[in-house]
């Protein structure tokens, strides 16, 4: 790790102005990607702005048809939230599948979404649930937020404050873990909304999280696993690495999509 200046603001405003003043800054949320990268000397920001003491970034709230989660809420807090479990059980279950207990008690929803790791789980949930990412500057629809691996609509110095999720009628997440890292090799989030079904895939795409329109269409007519029969996702645009090549990932998208639909349908 290279030496850096450490800042610990207590408000979003203070964090934003620190980012505006200091050179070469990084925001620190749970730190699960940033700190290992810094330890390996692959990143060396001059200024680290720790968001951990900002009370307004915390909290989970249900209002009407929406669940709103503060950006610094930890995965374990989402997984164990009575509100989330009741309103969007699929989201709580997804959070419970992230990493291991250590990771879940340190990593945050805001950090995961801002990082947009192509194997992270939250991007699939945000996109499938048609979430809105709220920042200190604006509100961004999930459809516009995720722009490719490790790339988002966030501008320099912009801080995610909350993420709000419309409550779907049914949803489920099926994850096939990378055996080593436990990240998603393929994760499929299926959500049935009043008007539409969304199917999103993380882990598989070489350009990050994506939707599968053919599946969405088929499931909009008939929300059952059989509706996916005959729909195959092509190898083009699939990731390939030592754990899974493009063909295997493409195959797993189909398997996980069916399992997610089955689980969602079974919720009754």
């Amino acid at each position: 790790m290279y030496a850096f200046e450490y800042h610990r603001p207590t408000s979003v405003k203070e964090a934003g102005s620190l980012a505006g003043q200091a050179e070469d800054t990084k925001f620190l949320a749970g730190g699960h990607t940033l700190l290992p990268t810094m330890k390996l000397r692959l990143a060396g920001p001059a200024n680290l702005i720790d968001l951990g003491q900002i009370a307004e970034l915390r909290g989970i709230e249900r209002t009407g048809d929406t669940i709103t989660i503060g950006a610094m809420m930890k995965h374990a807090e989402v997984a164990n939230s009575a509100d989330v479990k009741e309103a969007i059980p699929a989201l709580a279950e997804m959070a419970e599948l992230i990493g291991d207990p250590h990771v879940r008690n340190r990593g945050t929803i805001g950090g995961s979404v801002a990082n947009n790791d192509p194997s992270a789980d939250y991007p699939a949930a945000c996109l499938a649930l048609n979430a809105t990412i709220v920042t200190n500057q604006r509100k961004i629809a999930a459809d516009d937020f995720f722009q490719g691996i490790f790339t988002t609509a966030l501008e320099e110095g912009e801080i995610i404050t909350q993420i709000s999720f419309p409550i779907p009628s049914r949803a489920a997440y099926a994850k096939f873990r990378n055996p080593a890292s436990r990240y998603a090799l393929v994760g499929v989030f299926v959500a049935k909304h009043a008007d539409v079904v969304r199917v999103t895939v993380t882990g598989a795409g070489s350009n990050g999280v994506f939707r599968v329109p053919e599946m969405e269409q088929a499931l909009s007519g008939n929300f059952a696993a059989e509706a996916l029969d005959g729909i195959a996702v092509g190898e083009d645009g699939m990731n390939s690495d030592i754990h899974a090549d493009a063909a295997y990932r493409a195959h797993l998208v189909g398997v996980m999509a069916r399992r997610a639909v089955q689980a969602a349908a079974a919720r009754g």
Binding site: P179, Y248, H251
Partner: protein, 787 residues
């Protein structure tokens, strides 16, 4: 059996400090004035070094010194050594290239040591290392075991086609004749995947030099501190043996990787004198992946000949063994004498011939890793036997039984003489525990759920208790493999045992104390086990090859016998009886046929106060030492049965049942033995399903962290059904065979035999990852459709 004697499941004494965080590991030692070493490592798998400019690093903040290979050479520090000479078929000695602690002119794998920076802090040392200018002429690399001799790349000048040796064992002509007679020949091609050891504690070293006394001290993560001292003094020449103290304190796992003498500890001892300060190096996990000696990495073609009755007639094996870029300390012995002599397995095979080509590649050195050669041999034998049974339409259990050795001693065609065993007894018990008779029902049940169920056997044998010194000397070992012990009885009757064995997870402080408790009739709380310090223990060969019970404890037993004999002399004086009438029983020295007796502690006190005998008749004190040299290897053996269920949609293999029935001879502590079996199976399952070391073609290590290198987790393993059978080992005084490596040896073929049984074809390599199994399941479907 007493509460703390042989056979009692005594809780581990050492765990008090380990589970409360009070263990003291090398990195916990900080010496006054200590500086920190950081090694600049090669980013290239193969490159000539045109020049190294350390001057920009020297002026960086906190830098104490920067050294390169030239500095070591100027001080006449020798290279690292390989301590086992292997001769090729033609009688020529193996071709060992130089192995400098810091590179001289060339780097040969990613992670090779280029320079060392010593600074006030580790961060400063790292900063300065980045400032060193190295001009590399990058050369093509060879990483693939099978391609090593064909690639237009020469790793070392001494071996033009990268061949270190072409070695063989067995009888070629007799084996050819056996195959000529065969009714059936089963053939198999196997890869034994390369593994990264990954003990939980990374390697570390602190070197220290005392200008007042000219004494050197090295704290190091070693499984064999005396061997480290011997090599560092006699061969590498960093310090005279009598001036070098090597301390291996608590060590957090080794699995073989801490047997070897590496560049880092060599440099730390040497540099401590150069910079006149203690020098500490602690490996981080990334360095451990790159530079700890890896394990396995064989490519093998093997054939088994059988007759019309399903009797095995012969076995022939050709193996290419990847030794990496340099010959590590015992690397040459692993794919040769620790491998081929086990190719007879538990079977009566009249003719065996094995050829092994050891090759250099631009990868990390490969050396002993839990099992060391014996897992590789067992994988060959047990995969072949299973395949042969299938081809012959025989039940794999009964095919094995029909070929088991039943008469002992039994001399195999590959130089081993098995002393005892009852292989059928282990098989019977394993079949019972595994509920083999109802397997087909379970298979059908799985099929109804769209799953593929399979069962796999592994009827393994290993040679442990390493090893008779004369025998290994005749095979090329540079050292003897006896063990030493000293039993010091204090005047109060408590006992300190100084042992040359080293505990790095095995629980010696408990099991060794159990032996003393059993033999002397004192509580284990009255016994301390001292190990891991060359200033305390006179000499020792260390712990590896499941030798500490069979060899290390035998030395202790021998020393205890001497203590009892001396105690009898003391007691005879005190009790005014003749020595021949003194009996030692249940912790008391008594006069035969009388009720006159003394407790062990009373005799100890009398030995030290020496009031009842003349110093001319009997030396005061009660302390005895012994060296024990084994008369044979020991042969633990057993049967493991693995039952898997495969999800053909995803390729996920779930281990549903695991049965292990092992014969370890006499067992000192069944709880510790069971723990060893569990750990070994976990490692073997790791090799079979999860752990694959991948270098790309340029020689970069792709699996260089836990993000990509998959270690077994609890969730990957079932609850094990562990059983024992016992045939006491006749070749050591305690009847112990050893248990430390059995699981890692037995497990891989059991898993793969189960997977291939489920799939209905043999085309799957280790690690059988979900992707690989999914693909193999696709193939199975295609084959089935074609039928």
């Amino acid at each position: 059996m007493t509460a703390s004697g042989i056979g009692a499941p005594v809780r581990r004494k050492e765990d008090q400090r380990f589970v409360t965080g009070q263990g003291r590991y090398v990195d916990d030692f900080n010496r006054p004035g200590q500086a920190y070493a950081y090694f600049l490592r090669s980013p290239h798998a193969h490159a000539a070094i045109r020049s190294i400019d350390t001057s920009p690093a020297m002026i960086m903040p906190g830098v104490v010194a920067v050294f390169t290979g030239d500095d070591l050479a100027a001080d006449k520090i020798g290279g690292l050594i390989c301590g086992w000479m292997i001769h090729s078929k033609d009688g020529s000695p193996m071709k060992a290239g130089p192995h400098p602690a810091l590179a001289q002119g060339k780097v040969r794998y990613v992670g090779d040591h280029v320079a060392v920076v010593i600074a006030e802090t580790l961060a400063q040392a790292k900063d300065a290392a980045e400032a060193i200018l190295v001009d590399y002429d990058v050369l093509p690399a060879v990483v693939d075991t099978a391609q090593a001799t064909k690639a237009p790349v020469q790793v070392h000048d001494v071996s033009p086609d990268n061949t270190v040796f072409n070695w063989h064992l067995g009888n070629k002509e007799e084996t050819q004749a056996a195959f000529a007679r065969a009714k059936h020949v089963t053939k198999i091609d196997l890869i034994n995947n390369r593994l990264v050891p990954n003990p939980i504690e990374p390697r570390a070293a602190v070197g220290e030099y005392d200008f007042g006394t000219d004494n050197y001290t090295l704290y190091t993560t070693s499984q064999n501190p005396h061997v480290a001292r011997l090599v560092l003094s006699a061969f590498i020449g960093v310090a005279p043996e009598h001036k070098l103290r090597v301390i291996a304190p608590d060590v957090g796992g080794g699995f073989g990787s801490k047997i070897f003498i590496y560049a880092e500890e060599t440099v730390c001892v040497w540099a401590a004198k150069k910079v006149r300060r203690p020098v500490k190096w602690t490996s981080d996990r990334s360095e451990a992946f790159l530079s700890d000696a890896h394990g396995r990495d064989h490519v093998t073609h093997a054939e088994m000949a059988t007759d019309e009755n399903g009797r095995i007639l012969g076995l022939r094996v050709h193996t290419t063994a990847n030794l990496g870029a340099y010959l590590s300390t015992f690397s040459s012995s692993v794919p040769t004498y620790l491998y081929a002599p086990l190719l007879s397995g538990q079977y009566d095979i009249p003719a065996i011939y094995c050829e092994v080509d050891g090759v250099y590649t631009n990868t990390a050195p490969v050396d002993a890793y839990r099992g060391a050669g014996r897992p590789e041999a067992t994988f060959v034998v047990e995969r072949l036997v299973e395949k042969a049974a299938r081809e012959l339409g025989k039940d794999p259990a009964e095919f094995r039984r029909a070929n088991y050795i039943t008469q002992f001693p039994h001399t195999t065609p590959v130089i081993m003489t098995y002393d005892t065993g009852d292989y059928a007894a282990s098989l019977d018990k394993a079949l019972e525990v595994a509920d083999y008779r109802n397997f087909q029902q379970r298979k059908q049940e799985s099929a109804r759920n769209g799953k593929l169920r399979g069962i796999g056997f592994s009827s393994y044998i290993e040679a442990c208790g390493i090893a008779p010194s004369q025998a290994v000397g005749s095979l090329g070992a540079g050292v003897g493999l006896w063990e030493s012990a000293e039993v010091r009885v204090n005047p109060t009757g408590s006992v300190e045992v100084l042992t040359g064995s080293h505990s790095h997870g095995q629980g010696h402080e408990t099991t060794f104390a159990q032996l003393v408790s059993d033999r002397l009739g004192i509580s284990i709380d009255q016994v301390s086990i001292v190990h891991g310090d060359t200033d305390k223990v006179q000499f020792g060969m260390g712990t590896y090859g499941s030798r500490s019970g069979a060899v290390g404890m035998s030395a202790i037993a021998k020393a205890i016998d001497k203590v009892i004999a001396k105690g009898k002399k003391v007691a005879a004086h005190v009790l005014e009886a003749s020595e021949g009438d003194i009996e030692f029983k249940d912790g008391r020295f008594g006069v035969a046929g009388t009720d006159r007796s003394l407790a062990f502690g009373e005799v100890a006190l009398q030995a030290y106060i020496a009031h009842k005998f003349s110093g001319q008749d009997l030396e005061p004190g009660l302390k005895e030492g012994a060296f024990y040299d084994p008369t044979n290897f020991t042969f633990p053996a057993g049967v493991h049965i693995c039952e898997v269920e495969i999800d053909p949609d995803t390729g996920v293999t779930k281990i549903e049942r695991w049965t292990a029935v092992d014969d370890f001879g006499v067992i000192i502590n069944p709880m510790i033995v069971e723990g060893q079996v569990h750990g070994g199976i976990a490692q073997g399952v790791g090799q079979a399903l999860l752990e694959g070391t991948v270098y790309d073609q340029s020689g970069q290590l792709i699996t260089a962290s836990f993000n990509d290198y998959c270690m077994p987790r609890a969730i990957d393993l079932p609850s094990f059904q562990v059983g024992m059978t016992v045939t006491p080992c006749p070749s050591n005084p305690l009847g112990i065979k050893g248990c430390g490596e059995a699981g890692a040896i037995a497990a891989p073929p059991a898993v793969i035999n189960a997977i291939t049984d489920a799939l209905g074809h043999e085309d799957i390599a280790m690690p059988a990852t979900p992707q690989a199994v999914w693909r193999a399941a696709q193939k199975a479907r295609t084959l089935l459709a074609a039928e």
